[in-house]
């Protein structure tokens, strides 16, 4: 049985084309992917991300437990601060990537991918059971059904959201948040986060208030060029930033050091799940890494397309995400390439429907916001 967010009816009313995604019925686009993508880059985009999962970790040992669970350093978080982190398995592969919000010294909110919610929660419970002796005072609850989550992304995000919230948005720094209210008296978490590469905010609020906030934002956004954006634009926006996506760049057999998110791996913080294999990979040296690719021939890279050396003799890896970039109007890809063939400027071939097409490794992000 597919799930629907509290905002589902609004998507249908707005002409959203509904598709199945990670067990949810979600809009893939409304007016058109290109239109929505460019609106978010030029003005603002509105995203229903209520399908994301939310887990509470609370108690005296919550900090220690969450810090053991993820690769980034949760102990450094202040109250009202958030971070992005992978959660590794015992082999150093990735179970999921998530956001950790510190709501109080002993209260954390973990935001996980929709399609991984059940798997992640089971994993967290397993790790907690395994480490109970060290982390005796932790309550772990899957609160996903309690939350709606809406993202307002783009340079006009604050102008649109500010009239609807009690917190001063200009005082919320990147990856910080406030606990306040929206729509007068609805409790909400408002963070300066998002996965588009634009300035913007994400709002967490009680599930049943999701549609009210969505409608209010659609109205408030009209004079500011706001468009509702589906999963299609969400994917191309994150792609242009080379932000990794679980199931594409991040898998249970990819290590965060390879995936271009080595900055999230804090080997010096002490033990955490997946630390030993990750430290040993770092010592041995990586065998491959995630790179950005620009097609110099004709064709669009797509997930799974093989990558070869310029003479076509050696297989170097494969594309994990690829599309025609709406902002740059170019066919671009990201993929894993064997070292030492992964340097910027290096040439490779992408096999597209049986033909090897030339491409060049280029620096990422592909897109940089101009403000």
């Amino acid at each position: 049985m597919l799930k629907r967010t509290a905002i589902y009816e609004e998507h249908v009313r707005a002409g959203g084309r509904i598709v199945e995604f990670g067990g949810w019925e979600m809009p893939v686009q409304y007016t058109g992917l290109l239109d929505e993508h460019l609106a978010c880059r030029a003005a603002a985009g509105l995203f229903d991300v209520s399908h994301m999962g939310e887990v509470h970790a609370e108690g005296r040992d919550a900090e220690g437990f969450v810090n053991h669970l993820v690769a980034n350093n949760v102990a450094k978080l202040s109250v009202e601060q958030a971070l992005y982190t992978p959660m590794c398995n015992d082999e150093g592969g990735i179970v999921d990537d998530l956001l950790v919000y510190r709501r109080a010294p002993d209260r954390f909110l973990l935001v996980i991918n929709a399609s991984n919610t059940d798997k992640d929660f089971a994993w967290m419970q397993k790790i907690l059971a395994r480490e109970r002796a060290r982390f005796s005072d932790v309550r772990l609850t899957n609160e996903s059904p309690s939350y709606s989550q809406i993202a307002v992304q783009g340079r006009n995000a604050a102008k649109i959201l500010q009239p609807l919230v009690n917190a001063d948005l200009s005082a919320i720094k990147y990856y910080w948040f406030k606990e306040g209210t929206v729509l007068g008296n609805v409790p909400a978490i408002i963070s300066q986060t998002g996965y588009t590469g634009e300035y913007g905010f994400e709002v967490y609020l009680p599930w049943h208030k999701g549609a009210d906030l969505w409608r209010a934002l659609m109205d408030a956004g009209k004079p500011h060029g706001l468009k509702p954006c589906g999963l299609g634009a969400r994917d191309t926006l994150r792609f242009e930033m080379r932000f990794p996506l679980y199931g594409h760049e991040l898998l249970d057999n990819t290590n965060p050091l390879e995936a271009g998110i080595e900055w999230t791996v804090k080997l010096a913080k002490g033990d955490f799940v997946g630390r030993t294999p990750t430290a040993s990979l770092k010592e041995r040296g990586l065998a491959r890494k995630l790179v950005g690719l620009k097609v110099t021939g004709r064709g669009i890279p797509r997930p799974g397309y093989p990558l070869y050396s310029p003479d076509g003799a050696m297989r170097l890896g494969e594309i994990t995400s690829g599309t025609h970039s709406p902002s740059l109007n170019l066919p671009l890809g990201i993929g894993y390439v064997t070292l030492p063939h992964a340097a910027d400027g290096a040439r490779v071939l992408i096999e597209i429907r049986g033909t090897k097409i030339p491409a060049e490794i280029i620096p990422t992000p592909f897109y940089k916001r101009p403000y």
Binding site: L34, H37, G232, H324, P331
Partner: protein, 129 residues
Amino acid sequence: MMRFPADYKYSKDHEWAHAQGNTVTVGVTDHAQRALGDIVFVELPPVGRVLKQGETFGVVESIKAVSDLFSPVTGKVIEVNTGLPDDPAQINKSPHTGAWLIKMELADPSTLDGLMSAGDYSKYVESLG
């Protein structure tokens, strides 16, 4: 409601075929371009290629999806819309007219006769939901 030209024939792969004498012009339907979304790439066959009905003759790609093109009839490619690869978005704008893909010389008229009428195709699209 989508409208499909009454004098065209349609395949279940969402290509249209417009016969004038022995020449058949081929394109993708309005339904197909809508389903694909913003089209950013098209690859067409060389003139002279002989195609069987149902055979792949090229590809169209939107930002999100890749879709093969299937020949609606059996015959030989005699002309290609060479402007299309430089402006694939034409397929979104005028799928039934300006953005034709190829012209074919019909080799087997029975392949044309077996295609759907505009009315039948319209019902077929409805049935897909």
